[in-house]
């Protein structure tokens, strides 16, 4: 949604409930991220933090299409995906802070958020490795004969690693119900995509597997919603996988503390000026899809929930020392001692 279009309504837009649902997810992500960054900056909390700020519309775009029993796999930069799939704020914050009350009892941390109840199945810290794993969920749905869909998220840089290639090929050959979402924020750590990648558009790579591939402006919520909807519908109908490249931008570099000296200042300024969440909000108002009060109240509710989650997390205990040795194996296999 580029600046000058916020005033114009969109014939291709979904119904109001969906529009607002997307805004709710986007705001949840944006406000959570802002809270994390402020607490980190003020030194009240300490952790390695990969901000998803700027990529909100992508997760919201598939989030509103998925059912609770659909599967999502994501990466270290996963806060937006976790929230879009409905991982509860309290457990999420507690896990980020390594507390016993976290989604993973504090043992996984931000890079490994897991919450099967919400369908957030795997968060990996290894670039590309979530892709072959996502196929496993697709195989399970296929064998079970259900119409569950798996959405696996990864970055532009991840499309240069072997796991991407092997996973895409397997999904295509077996027509797995998996949607491959490449959140292309133009950088892999400190390296611009053009310096590392042989194609201009990641979606071009789908043809190497006989898989449909599409590029969408990931900062345009409506367009993203549409493309995600089509890909998810295909998967649900048993018509096979799709590669969706959603173009976006990383507002805060690779991780908290990144000096970003390798990023073009002007490029970044423009991207942040065109903040997709802010512009979507303007668009919703400008076209009467929502009132200031509605959105304001939504934001207040989210802010209150975040206050509560932070409070909960900060006051939660660290895991008991015995937890070091548990969960290595299902049984008490005495392999997990020193």
């Amino acid at each position: 949604m580029s600046q000058n279009t916020t005033a114009v309504d969109r014939p291709d837009a979904p119904d109001r409930d969906t529009l607002l649902a997307m805004f709710e997810i986007q705001s949840r992500i944006k406000l959570c991220d802002e809270r994390f960054r402020s607490l980190l900056t003020s030194g009240q909390i300490q952790l390695i933090y990969y901000s998803p700020r700027g990529q909100e519309c992508i997760s919201a775009g598939w989030g509103v299409h998925l059912r609770k029993d659909d599967y999502v796999v994501t990466i270290y930069r996963g806060l937006h995906d976790h929230l879009a799939k409905g991982v509860p704020l309290r457990e999420l914050w507690a896990e980020f802070l390594g507390r016993a009350t976290g989604t993973c009892k504090g043992k996984g941390g931000p890079m490994h958020i897991t919450h099967p109840e919400s369908g957030l199945m795997v968060t990996t810290g290894i670039v590309g490795s979530g892709i072959p794993i996502a196929n496993g969920f697709g195989i399970a749905a296929q064998l079970d004969g259900t119409d569950q869909v798996t959405v696996v998220n990864f970055g532009d840089g991840a499309t240069n690693i072997g796991a991407f290639h092997e996973g895409m090929n397997m999904a295509a050959v077996w027509k797995l119900p998996v949607v491959f979402v490449c959140q292309n924020n133009l950088y892999g750590e400190h390296t611009p995509m053009a310096m590392s990648t042989g194609v201009e558009f990641i979606s071009e790579r789908a043809a190497a597997y006989g898989m449909p591939g599409v590029t969408v402006n990931g900062n345009d919520p409506v367009a993203t919603w549409k493309v995600m909807g089509e890909a998810i519908a295909r998967a649900r109908a048993g018509e096979g996988p799709t590669l969706v490249e959603a173009r976006t931008y990383r507002f805060y570099g690779h991780l908290m503390g990144d000096a970003m000296e390798y990023m073009d200042k002007e490029e970044r300024r423009l991207a942040m000026e065109a903040d997709p969440v802010v512009m979507y909000r303007e668009w919703l108002l400008a076209n009467g899809h929502a009132t200031e009060d509605q959105l304001g109240e939504m934001e207040e509710v989210i802010t209150a929930a975040i206050d509560d989650a932070v409070e909960f997390a900060v006051n939660s205990p660290f895991p008991d020392e015995s937890e070091l040795y548990t969960d290595v194996f299902a049984d008490d296999t005495k392999a997990a001692t020193r």
Binding site: T114, T124, S129, P132, I133, A335
Partner: protein, 344 residues
């Protein structure tokens, strides 16, 4: 002979049909697939008409269909990744990695994912998969198709490691592996697959499982303990026969599962014999023999008549030339010599 914890194989009545190890493994897969629709297989060339490059999965795709016996591309990372995901989703995938050396192309899925996901999720997402892989030198395959890498996996938390020495053990342990809720690496030494004469054995019919963490004393003896697993157990038995002629009675402990490892049985035997020789085909340096040797010294310090001897592969890649390859692999005479060293 049997440990106090009795196990089916050691009681196997002689009338059980004598099978090659490959058939015993095939039986286990067949029984598991028959018992539980959540069990499925994936790997390269495992479906009919060939039924796998070693024919270990013969007939299964015909019996259970290609949806449950899934022939894949040459994409080991995708194979293990798919096994990880489907295992988390409630299946019991049995993935085949054709040769153990190829673990190196998909190790990330094995160690960083299969091995860590239960832990990282705080126990929410178990990963009940089995990785079957064939391994071992002696077939003139050269340096990249002959390695035994169990030590890598034993050093890696979260993965159980099994390496059977007989068809009955292979069947019983594979059934246990498939229904175990943790990732299990199941190592099959290629040389034992079809050689009934040297490695065949009676296999009890049906769903007979062998528990993990229970070593099997394949031969009783009072003078020295030979600790081994997999094919080398047979070499230990051969060495024991030779030693018996010289009046040295060796006890042969077959660990069968390396993670978990039945240290109780090992310590009990060595406490009795005062002498231990650890034997495996894998490269000696930093092999599992080092771990076992350290544990024995830690537990039985002062009770041993000699330091624990390690007999393993040379600290070299596996050479091609038949004479060099034979030198690489620990042989019966190396075991005998090691025992002699404990008797100086």
């Amino acid at each position: 002979m049997s440990t106090t914890t009795d196990t089916p194989i050691t009681e196997a009545p002689v009338e059980h049909p004598v099978l090659p190890m490959a058939s015993a493994i095939n039986q286990a897969l067949d029984i598991a697939m028959g018992l539980d629709p959540k069990v499925f297989l994936l790997g390269e060339d495992i479906a009919e008409p060939s039924g796998g490059v070693y024919k270990v999965t013969k007939g299964l795709s015909t019996k259970y269909g290609t949806a449950r016996v899934r022939k894949t591309a040459i994409s080991e990372a995708a194979i293990i990744g798919a096994a990880v995901g489907s295992a988390i989703a409630g299946y019991r995938p049995v993935a085949e990695i054709m040769m153990m050396d190829f673990l190196a192309v998909c190790l990330d899925q094995v160690t960083n994912h299969a091995g860590k996901i239960r832990y990282m999720s705080g126990g929410q997402t178990p990963v009940p998969l089995v990785i079957r892989t064939s391994a071992g030198a002696g077939r003139g395959f050269g340096a990249q198709h002959s390695e035994l890498l169990e030590a890598w996996m034993i050093h890696t938390p979260g993965i159980k490691v099994v390496m059977p020495s007989t068809p009955a053990d292979a069947k019983g342990l594979l059934l246990t592996a498939i229904f175990d809720d943790d990732p299990v690496l199941f190592i099959e030494q290629m040389m034992m697959y079809w050689d009934v004469k040297r490695f065949g054995g009676p296999v009890p019919p049906g769903d007979v499982r062998i528990p993990f963490g229970v070593a099997d004393i394949k031969r009783a003896g009072s003078d020295v303990t030979l600790i081994s697993y997999g094919r080398q157990v047979h070499d230990c038995l051969a060495a024991a026969e030779q030693l018996a002629q010289e009046g040295i009675e060796a006890e042969v402990v077959d660990l069968r599962t390396l993670v978990p490892c039945d240290e109780k049985t090992v310590f009990a035997s060595v406490a009795k014999t005062k002498r231990a020789v650890v034997v495996h085909e894998a490269v000696t340096r930093c092999g599992f023999g080092a771990e076992l040797s350290s544990r024995i010294h830690e537990e039985l310090f002062g009770e041993l008549a000699a330091p624990v001897q390690r007999v393993g592969g040379a600290n070299t890649p596996v050479p091609y030339a038949s004479n060099l390859e034979a030198d690489f692999i620990p042989q019966v005479h190396d075991i005998v010599a090691a025992v002699k060293r404990t008797n100086k």
